[in-house]
């Protein structure tokens, strides 16, 4: 059981602040590091992996400082985002080399165990350069697991994977967590995090925006006011009917249709078709106006 602790960590490049005063504690189980692209997720993971010095604050694993301390790599396995991984080696040679670099007592057996864990024993004698993205990701994972680390850091592990590879990797990550490891993965895709992590840390524009149980944060996200654009056969009458319901806070009549601000997402989605049917209005189009991840995040920051 290991714990990764960030205490008031900031990182800046010249005048640009990439990460600003982030404190978080990551314990056993799967934690999702969620944030839009450019939010500072990679910067955080690089600091947790010891590739970047925090400009201020401290990053530790089980009380040991990570920066400039190669001995912590006995406890950490890191799967970098970038795809390249010694393309000229076979999967087996690569994982064995990593086991030897860890000075494991029996590197061959450790490599076989790690390859089996990611189900890469069969293609292990092919060179990495000829692997698919999913296979590369798995062999990178095997290399990170070869020394059986209690902490596993994965930087955008699902990037470029097809749905089948995604499911497989999700199973694998769940398995790692079930074994008592501390697994942290970064992602900018809400659904990925939703399916995998119970605990999430949300980073936006370098700041730590939210932390905790995914369902609670998801509720915050769904309970926020939603904007919809609705076009119908009679916008004015529909507007009157909608504003009468407490699920709607505001309606604006525009040339492109109605702009509706719904405060209770679930109720609004049930009420809208009912209201339309009762008033004999045909709905032409119902579209969310602000479903981008950025708007969800900015709402989270504001709340």
């Amino acid at each position: 059981m290991s714990e990764l602790v960030l205490r008031d960590v900031s990182r800046w490049y010249g005048n640009v602040v990439a990460v600003n005063g982030v404190s978080m504690t990551i314990g056993p189980g799967v934690t999702g590091l969620l944030g839009p692209n450019g939010a500072g997720k990679s910067t955080l993971i690089h600091m947790m992996g010891g590739f970047l010095a925090p400009s201020s604050g401290q990053v530790t694993v089980d009380g040991q400082r990570i920066w400039k301390n190669p001995s912590v790599y006995r406890q950490i396995g890191l799967v970098p985002e970038r795809e390249t991984a010694y393309d000229f080696l076979t999967g087996r040679q690569f994982v064995r080399a990593m086991a030897k670099l860890h000075r494991l007592p029996n590197p061959e057996a450790a490599a076989e165990r790690a390859l089996a864990m990611v189900e890469m024993v069969a293609p292990a004698d092919r060179i990495i350069g000829n692997y698919s993205k999913g296979m590369k990701q798995r062999v990178k994972m095997a290399s990170a697991l070869v020394h059986d680390p209690p902490v596993l850091l994965l930087d955008e592990p699902f990037n470029g994977m097809d749905p089948r590879q995604r499911l497989h990797l999700m199973d694998l990550i769940r398995k790692m967590a079930a074994e008592g490891r501390t697994v942290l993965f970064s992602s900018h895709i809400l659904e990925e995090v939703e399916r995998l992590a119970h605990h999430i840390e949300v980073v936006i524009a370098g700041r730590h925006a939210a932390s905790g149980d995914f369902r609670a944060i998801r509720r915050l996200m769904t309970d926020r006011p939603h904007m919809f654009v609705v076009r119908s056969s009679d916008d004015r009458r529909l507007a009157a009917a909608l504003i009468a319901d407490p699920s709607t806070r505001g309606v604006e009549l525009t040339s492109g249709g109605l702009e509706v601000e719904a405060v209770d997402f679930r109720r609004f989605s049930l009420v809208l078709p009912q209201v339309a049917r009762q008033a004999d209005i045909r709905l032409w189009e119902v579209a969310p106006a602000d479903e981008s991840l950025e708007s969800v995040f900015s709402y989270l920051v504001a709340s």
Binding site: S42, F51, R74, Y86, H102
Partner: protein, 238 residues
């Protein structure tokens, strides 16, 4: 020195297209020396000219640039170095291993061919072949240290190295005598001059200056690379 890192580095160096360049330059030197020998022009003067101008002037710095930057630069650029750096291994061990690999490559593809070319042209006369082999060895050792340090320091290591080898050593040092003092090539010639009796070999830098400078550049280059790697930041994609 770590044997696993060394073997991965050797494989990386020898598996790419750059291997062609590693073979091409020494092959050209050997062909030229065979040509001189066959045409009966392989006297001490011509042999010295070929080994100085082409051997120490082009072959050696280019090979060392290829090896010294190639053992680490591309790995830092594409982030592969992360796999080695996330191991409980002191960072200076990583850089020193990479350095040793680059020196071995320079010896195999630069120093040995220069010795063989010297022997083809002049046999063991006046210790010319041995002198140039030794000069090439010490210059190669220093070049590799310098280029390794630059590769850890900058993404533009190859350009910076080329500017040093081609512009500084070949151009500026030719017209500005003071610049010769800071030329690894001239230090190599100075060491060759210490060993050989051939009068055609003329060093512009005294060995009392060249030898200490060779040692300083080598030690400083390797030490700097190790120190810099300890705090190497691999920046993220965001």
């Amino acid at each position: 020195m770590n044997p696993v890192i060394a073997s991965i580095t050797f494989r990386a160096m020898l598996s790419k297209r750059r291997i062609l360049l590693l073979f091409l330059l020494p092959a050209l030197l050997l062909m030229l020396s065979i040509g001189l020998r066959a045409s009966g022009h392989a006297d001490l003067d011509n042999a010295t000219m070929l080994l100085t101008q082409f051997g120490l002037g082009a072959l050696l710095p280019l090979l060392a640039l290829l090896a010294g930057t190639g053992v680490i630069g591309p790995e830092i650029d594409d982030g592969q170095i992360m796999y080695i750096m996330t191991k409980p291994i002191a960072r200076p061990v990583i850089s020193t291993t990479k350095y040793v690999v680059s020196v071995v490559l320079v010896v195999a593809f630069g120093v040995v061919p220069m010795f063989v070319a010297g022997v083809i042209m002049t046999g063991m006369t006046a210790g010319l072949a041995t002198g140039f082999a030794l000069g090439a060895l010490v210059a190669g050792v220093a070049y590799c240290a310098l280029f390794l340090a630059i590769a850890v320091l900058s993404r533009f290591a190859v350009t910076i190295g080329l500017i040093y080898a081609l512009v500084w050593e070949n151009l500026i040092a030719r017209y500005a005598p003071g610049a010769k003092t800071l030329s690894i090539r001239q230090w190599g010639i100075s060491v060759a001059d210490m060993v050989t009796n051939a009068t055609a070999v003329k060093a512009d830098v005294a060995s009392s200056t060249a030898v200490p400078l060779l040692i300083v550049v080598t030690v400083a280059g390797v030490a700097y690379a190790g120190w810099k790697l300890r705090t190497l930041s691999v920046t993220g994609t965001d």
